[in-house]
Symmetry: C2
Subunit: 143 residues, 2 copies
């Protein structure tokens, strides 16, 4: 499932965007929605990878058995999304380059699977080194 | 400033949507963006009032001096937005009909102003009584 999120991150990078991808799956592995960060492409600060995938999945009545897969540890915004909608499981590519709210989610009963994937970490390490101001903007770090 | 958020909530209600409105202001009172819940209107579960106002404000480099005004206590999704982007102040119409993450935000240094406005509370009380399933969908409460 992480491969879909990585494809999304790569698509975002190819578009000149921030390379973070995500996908929401049903418990049986059915893809419900996929997306990537769209800050640069759409000038839209509200579309992080996870919110983009959540949006693409459309209105769902019950998220408890769904699985959010993301290339990067979810920030507080995306962690809040997971908690509010009761998404049951989060699969995370890596948390080396950014440590978001996944410990908080685990405390609140969300099943967290941290893959610690080298490709995901390398993609973000390279991106942050080349675009520090853009990255800080995306996570709300003031200059 | 709450009047702008109430106008947004009323506009959402008139469109057949969930009556929650929000607006993001600069410290000097300049309106940066306004919006309302768009779940019904756009079939979009990602557009809560606060995320809609945040989106409408476009890309901002520093949110510390901004003020998010919302008719209702922000859910975890919207509270996560406030925390991640470092929005400094949140003005809340009411928290009687829904108690979201504003205590958590206060613990993390966000200035919280709870107006406890009767109009806001009445609007949501009436809406929830008439549309319980839709309301539960919007806050991720499974049946």
């Amino acid at each position: 499932m992480l491969a879909v999120a990585v494809e999304e991150a790569q698509a975002g990078l190819a578009e000149g965007g921030i390379p973070i991808g995500a996908a929401l799956f049903a418990a049986d592995g059915t893809l419900l929605g996929r997306g990537h960060n769209r800050r640069v492409q759409d000038d839209d600060p509200s579309m992080h990878a996870e919110t983009s995938a959540f949006r693409a999945a459309g209105r769902q009545r019950d998220y408890r058995s769904t699985i959010m897969v993301t290339t990067l540890s979810p920030c507080w915004y995306c962690s809040g999304l997971v908690r509010q909608f009761g998404i049951g499981t989060v699969v995370i590519g890596e948390a080396r380059t950014f440590h978001g709210g996944h410990d908080w989610l685990a405390e609140h009963g969300v099943a967290i699977h941290l893959v610690d994937d080298d490709r995901c970490a390398a993609m973000m390490t390279d991106f942050i080194a080349a675009n520090p101001a853009l990255w800080n903007e995306d996570i709300g770090e003031a200059e």
